[in-house]
């Protein structure tokens, strides 16, 4: 597609349930990022994938959070046993690597509400 696509755009879930968020990066972009943005706050880094390298998981807040990426395509972010503090917008971004620019292109995000 022309841009980064995320689904669903909105997700309401009950505390304790698992959720899965999906990100389709721009075709050809080898780098993929997940960020979390709480209401009125900045972006909090979660995880970064680059090609076949081991992902940088240093931003994942707990072991309830995990993410996978198939090759250089779709990524899924899974949150197990959701808590109310997980409520936020989850943003995915992709970029090319190399060339000195590496501008990130963001998706529209998934608004997660945990009741």
């Amino acid at each position: 597609g022309a841009g980064v696509s995320q689904s669903p755009s909105n997700k309401v879930t009950e505390k304790g349930k698992d959720v899965e968020l999906r990100c389709d990066p721009i075709s050809g972009h080898t780098a993929l990022y997940w960020y979390r943005q709480r209401l009125g706050q900045g972006l909090e880094f979660l995880i970064y994938f680059q090609g076949n390298s081991a992902p940088d998981k240093s931003g994942l807040p707990s072991d309830r959070f995990s993410a996978e990426r198939t090759g250089e395509s779709v990524s899924t972010l899974t949150i197990q046993r959701t808590q109310q503090e997980d409520s936020a917008v989850y943003l995915c971004a992709s970029s090319l690597v190399g060339g000195g620019n590496e501008k990130l292109f963001f998706g529209s995000g998934t608004q997660l509400s945990v009741l």
Binding site: Q50, L91, K103, F105, F106, S108
Partner: protein
């Protein structure tokens, strides 16, 4: 650890006025990014600054980078209402292990009033 601080966090200005948003970062960063976010929308890339002294301009916005002072500025000239948005700066560790990880500031919420 790279920390990025923006100020002010909130800025209300009148149309036609000039102002500057500041972005300080705590350790060497090999590039500095500016993004814009409209309410309810995702982030849009504005500028990527790659080296000391870099200056980029688009329309009423001009961004600069001083790596020695660890400071980037976003200058707004003759503000118009359409510039109302939240502006984020982000840095990336210089040669750090997390090559891809951008660290964002908290954002500056700009409101331009007639």
């Amino acid at each position: 650890e790279l920390k990025v601080e923006q100020n002010p966090l909130f800025l209300s200005m009148q149309e036609g006025k000039n102002y500057t948003i500041y972005c300080n970062y705590s350790t060497t960063s090999d590039r500095l990014y500016w993004y814009r976010q409209d309410p309810g929308k995702s982030l849009e890339s504005l500028f990527v600054l790659l080296s000391n002294g870099a200056v980029k301009q688009e329309g009423r916005l001009m961004a600069s980078l001083d790596t020695k002072a660890r400071l980037s500025t976003l200058h707004i000239t003759a503000a118009v209402h359409d510039l109302s948005a939240t502006y984020f700066c982000a840095g990336r560790l210089d040669g750090g292990g997390s090559q891809g990880n951008l660290i964002f500031g908290k954002g500056t919420k700009l409101s331009v009033k007639p």
